[in-house]
């Protein structure tokens, strides 16, 4: 059990690194994870079929933009592992997968919210000194830290068994979980503030509000926002150009 737990932890670590340092190549999708776990635990066929079942179950849970869904990789990894280990059905894998995926999401949110922000501060300091090697180190440490956390979570979860996991999940007060979700909704405001800082001033705040109102009222996808943005920018620049052409015309008359 312990040896299997450690092997699964290492598998999770490796899959996370391959996925996220390898251009989001989807090796952490349940269909691949099931296959790998089947390979590692010596039951390839079960691994592949349960993986495919979970793939379909997690289909809606894809991360687009800044939204992180319950962690499909750890959920399916442990779900498949428990099914192979205990000889349970593919459906029970899903029941096991969801609480674990949710638990891991809480840890991930903590990491993405806090730990990465600390690394970003450090990267700022290196940038200030022009130390690009420092930034390279930070990049790797940030990702490997996350992979390590996930690897340990997987190993501990498997060793502890799924009952202990759902007990732990239930032991976290609901308001803390809700509170962390609230925080996740607020955090992007910091990044947007930093981004707007170089552009925003009193004379163009209405442009920001215009983009905001457009999405608030119409829920327009970002590509649509960009198209309207380009049109707006063209109109404004065109108008200013006409203004300067008139002035230039006046200058021409003096020749």
């Amino acid at each position: 059990m312990i040896v299997t737990a450690i092997i699964l932890g290492i598998t999770a670590f490796a899959l996370f690194v391959i996925e996220h340092a390898g251009g989001r190549n989807f090796v952490t999708q349940p269909i691949i994870v099931g296959f790998i776990v089947g390979l590692v635990m010596g039951d390839l066929k079960t691994g592949i079929t349960v993986g495919a079942t979970l793939e379909l179950a997690f289909l809606g849970a894809t991360s687009v933009g800044a939204v992180i869904p319950p962690d499909a990789m750890t959920g399916s990894l442990l779900g498949v592992a428990f099914v192979i280990y205990a000889g349970a059905s593919a459906e029970s894998a899903l029941i096991l997968a969801l609480p674990i995926a949710t638990l891991v999401l809480i840890f991930k949110n903590f990491y993405y919210g806090y730990i990465v922000s600390l690394f970003v501060r450090k990267a700022d300091k290196y940038a200030e000194a022009g130390d690009y090697k420092g930034i390279e180190r930070i990049h790797w440490m940030t990702g490997l830290g996350m992979a390590l956390m996930i690897g340990v979570l997987v190993a501990v979860s498997f060793a502890a068994g799924s009952d202990a996991m759902s007990r732990l999940l239930n032991a976290i007060p609901g308001f803390v979980q809700t509170g962390l979700n609230v925080m996740v909704g607020l955090l992007p405001a910091i990044g947007f503030s930093m981004l707007a800082r170089t552009m925003l001033n009193k004379s163009n705040v209405h442009i920001f509000l215009c983009g905001f109102a457009l999405v608030a009222y119409s829920k327009l996808p970002i590509l649509g926002v960009a198209i309207f943005g380009v049109v707006l920018a063209l109109i404004i620049v065109q108008m200013e150009k006409e203004k300067t052409t008139v002035v230039a015309g006046g200058v021409d008359n003096e020749f």
Binding site: G23, V116, H139, G211
Partner: protein
């Protein structure tokens, strides 16, 4: 423009772009990865420490994009950094303004293609085989998604750099740069405004009732204007971080306290 940047440098940056989501975080998202991917280029064109520092700081600003499309932005940034290093009159703020203006549209297209089209096709075919227990399932899934994904990543690196260089050559000679900067600022602000409405969320679930019916404060705010709470959150955060210069780490702590205390009191959810 005499170019120091070789194909090899661009290739290095292309491979480094694969780490797009590796050092991701909520606050500034793909920023470390962006700086990391730019380093082979920056090393080549900036020999002075202070110039390097200035550029690294620039690329540690907020950044987020569809993973496979990052190379398009990187290519444009590479061409612009090169121009900045050779032309002292070049307005360096244009580099980030262009980055912000471009990342929205390419993410829109990229997400639709990769998460919408490619992934669905790969999943449909992969699971059909895998449900029968065939090893072809995971293998086909992997290949069907990744072959187009890497083709796009490699192609966009070249396209971005070529686009950036050509574009700069055209606008460099006359006064178009000023207008373009103006346009990039407008587009950037517009898109950031839109992203604020879609990505910043605050749900105030505290209910007020007038006896007969009750509604939450968020419902009430939404009746005035949808996403009004997101706007207020942004305004407060901007005021705190930019005007009052509250450290971002402090701001994160404040936000967590607000979240947990708010949830505990049943006001936020």
């Amino acid at each position: 423009m005499n170019s120091n940047i070789t194909k090899k440098d661009l290739n290095k940056t292309m491979w480094r772009s694969c780490g797009c989501s590796f050092s991701w975080g909520y606050e500034r998202q793909g920023n470390i990865a962006y700086a990391y991917a730019m380093i082979p280029i920056l090393k080549k064109i900036y020999t002075q420490k202070d110039k390097m520092a200035e550029s690294l700081k620039r690329h540690l600003e907020f950044y987020n994009v569809t993973n496979q499309c990052m190379t398009f932005n990187l290519g444009i940034s590479a061409a612009m950094e090169e121009e900045a290093s050779q032309n002292s009159e070049f307005d360096n703020s244009a580099i980030n303004k262009t980055k912000v203006a471009v990342m929205g549209p390419i993410s829109g297209i990229g997400d639709a293609f990769f998460w919408g089209t490619f992934k669905i096709i790969a999943t449909a075919i992969g699971t059909t085989f895998a449900l029968k227990g065939s090893i072809l399932g995971p293998i086909l899934f992997f290949l069907l998604y990744n072959i187009p994904a890497f083709a796009v990543r490699i192609g966009l690196m070249k396209a971005g750099y070529g686009f950036g260089a050509k574009f700069l050559a055209q606008v460099g000679s006359n006064g178009i740069m000023g207008q373009l900067l103006k346009a990039a600022t407008i587009l950037g602000l517009f898109v950031v405004g839109g992203m604020c409405a879609s990505l910043v969320n605050l749900n105030i679930i505290y209910e007020i009732s007038d006896g007969a019916n009750s509604q939450t404060i968020s419902d009430l705010l939404n009746q005035i204007m949808p996403c009004l709470s997101s706007l207020l959150v942004f305004a407060l955060t901007y005021w705190g971080v930019i005007v009052k210069k509250v450290q971002p780490v402090m701001m994160i702590v404040i936000m967590t306290m607000v979240g947990i205390i708010g949830a505990f009191l049943g006001i936020l959810g």
